[in-house]
Symmetry: C2
Subunit: 155 residues, 2 copies
DNA sequence: TTGGATGCAAATACTTTGCACACGG
DNA sequence: CCGTGTGCAAAGTATTTGCATCCAA
């Protein structure tokens, strides 16, 4: 999570312009706890950023990801999801509704290195799959809603 | 990893026809160690299964996955990758070339449950990201090839 | 001023679907 | 024989790209 002045510094260092779109995308992502996808971010941002294009959100997310300022989450859902919290943490993904919750457990940060010949580990993440509290309560009813309702409950 | 007679049994039990396409897709996946995607499987299979359609491969993979006979791997690459080995194991994904290696370590199978209120864990997997032996040796050169060359080196 | 970012629409990549026909059981 | 799977092509999503214009530095 970086402040606006941190971002200015980081972009300046790379000689990349910090546009208000970039600020807006990062800002929106940083203040959300729900790991939105590109389109969810776009939906929120277009109110505040008139004329914003979805393609810009995609480009910006790519840029921020390449700069290491955000995390991309490999979710079983089809859309990529993002997280402005780059500190080591893991995720619990609900296979019914697609919700993603952060998991923090320092024991998960000290996993044994994989015994793959020559493989150079840069990062690792643990993905728990299962049912969130709500979906566990209401079995069946929403299991099929994963893809159809995706953009309605990113929280 | 199931034998042909296991498969017959499993399909009979569900009253689903075990077509030669299904056998072929499963067979191909089972004998490969490289976690191919739908198109990679299709490329291999079309030689042996004349007239096979890519859509059939997709449908079959979906069916096999729903039956729990294969695993779908969430890879940072855009294509879904599959694994006929449904026993608990984890993956090391090369961020440069997209290769996926199996990681087996019993310590990874006893991870602490995530402390997310009400979350019902069904399964969990650890994804290590980094560079495979080859890409670590040849820095830069193939880093950009991930998406363009995807179907050329699924091994 | 100026190189890179943006906005738009079109393109691409991956996956699913609809329908007629084929085939396993 | 019947119900489901298959093959084909077309439709759907998610994401990227080309290009003219705009803006941060």
């Amino acid at each position: 999570m970086f402040s606006q002045s941190d971002l200015k510094e980081l972009f300046k260092r790379r000689r990349m312009p910090l546009t208000h779109q970039r600020l807006a995308v990062y800002g929106e992502l940083a203040c959300r706890r729900d790991h939105p996808g590109a389109e969810a971010l776009y939906d929120s941002l277009r109110r505040r950023v008139p004329g914003l294009a979805l393609a810009t959100v995609y480009k910006t997310l790519k840029t921020l990801h390449e700069m290491g300022l955000i995390i991309r989450i490999d979710s079983p859902a089809s859309q990529a999801r993002y997280d402005a919290d780059v500190a080591a943490h893991h995720h619990a993904v609900c296979t019914a509704c697609g919700r993603i919750a952060d998991v923090r457990d320092e024991r998960l940060d000290r996993l044994p290195r994989p015994a793959v010949r020559g493989f150079l580990v840069r990062s690792c993440s643990v993905n728990f799959r299962g049912l969130c509290a709500e979906c566990a309560k209401a079995p069946g009813s929403r299991a099929a809603s994963k893809s159809r309702n995706r953009r309605h409950h990113n929280g």
